[in-house]
Symmetry: C2
């Protein structure tokens, strides 16, 4: 095992602030959605992603990929949304892989009612605190992090490639 | 209700990248900790926060505040750590408020074994992707967001103060 490079003071301060902000923000977002609509953040994101498509539908596997949620997690959330009549599942006879989630009219109305309060929270506690330059820097940082993780094999991280003797 | 200020294209791109990065990173961190130590991220943070104190102990209420976790959530996590002998709970007879969580020797060893792999993940997928300027910008952004949330009353966000007629 190579020597651990511990985080520097400024790196640690950034990481701790990131963890705190993320936990606080997630709690604020969840609180708001719960009161306004009874939705969880995951459920809100499902409705929002579906609404971006003209026909309001997406293949389940594609939805799971975009939301970065496991298939079982998505199946659970979609079940909850289906029970409330906000989403329906359909299959495509000509396409074996094809189970789609579809936004219903009620789901569309629920999203329309809920979105303004949700955006207000995201603005109040994050977006409106940032300068346009900070928004751009943060977009770049987060995009780089996503790319790094999408490029790395899934599963636990290994700092040395398999087969290479530890140094 | 005032007119909704929807997110601009660049603000939305930042928010989506932030959500994706956060979900992916949390999954990577959890995977690593699970394989290396069987700890959840919340449990790792508990051990790490306790280890920062010379006597390895912190009042439960203070620990909950630092970790941004509910009291019931903390009680559950501490129970899990206690069962594995990594943390103990003690009370202070002279202090009514005083239930403390204490890092045990086994907890300390567990943290020492686990920390290098954890830091490697945080470096590989976030810290090492950033320039020193980006680290500093991100620290500032996240610190501002934390301050905004700590200053706002808990509970669902209201865009207009109570009593003020919507306009």
């Amino acid at each position: 095992m190579s020597e651990t490079r511990w985080l520097s003071e400024s790196e640690m301060a950034m990481w701790m602030a990131y963890l705190s902000a993320t936990h606080l923000l997630e709690r604020r977002v969840e609180d708001q959605l719960k009161v306004d609509s009874g939705l969880t953040h995951a459920q809100y994101e499902i409705l929002a992603r579906l609404s971006e498509h003209p026909d309001g539908q997406l293949r389940m596997t594609e939805l799971a990929r975009r939301l970065i949620i496991s298939k079982s997690g998505l199946t659970y959330q979609i079940g909850q949304l289906e029970r409330r009549g906000l989403v329906a599942r359909t299959t495509c006879p000509s396409d074996e892989r094809g189970v789609f989630a579809v936004l219903t009219e009620e789901g569309s109305r629920c999203l329309e009612r809920t979105a303004p309060g949700h955006v207000a929270v995201v603005r109040a506690f994050l977006v409106d605190r940032l300068t346009p330059e900070e928004v751009e820097t943060m977009r770049q940082i987060m995009t780089k992090a996503v790319a790094a993780m999408e490029a790395a094999p899934a599963g636990p991280f290994r700092s040395s490639p398999p087969g290479k003797s530890p140094g």
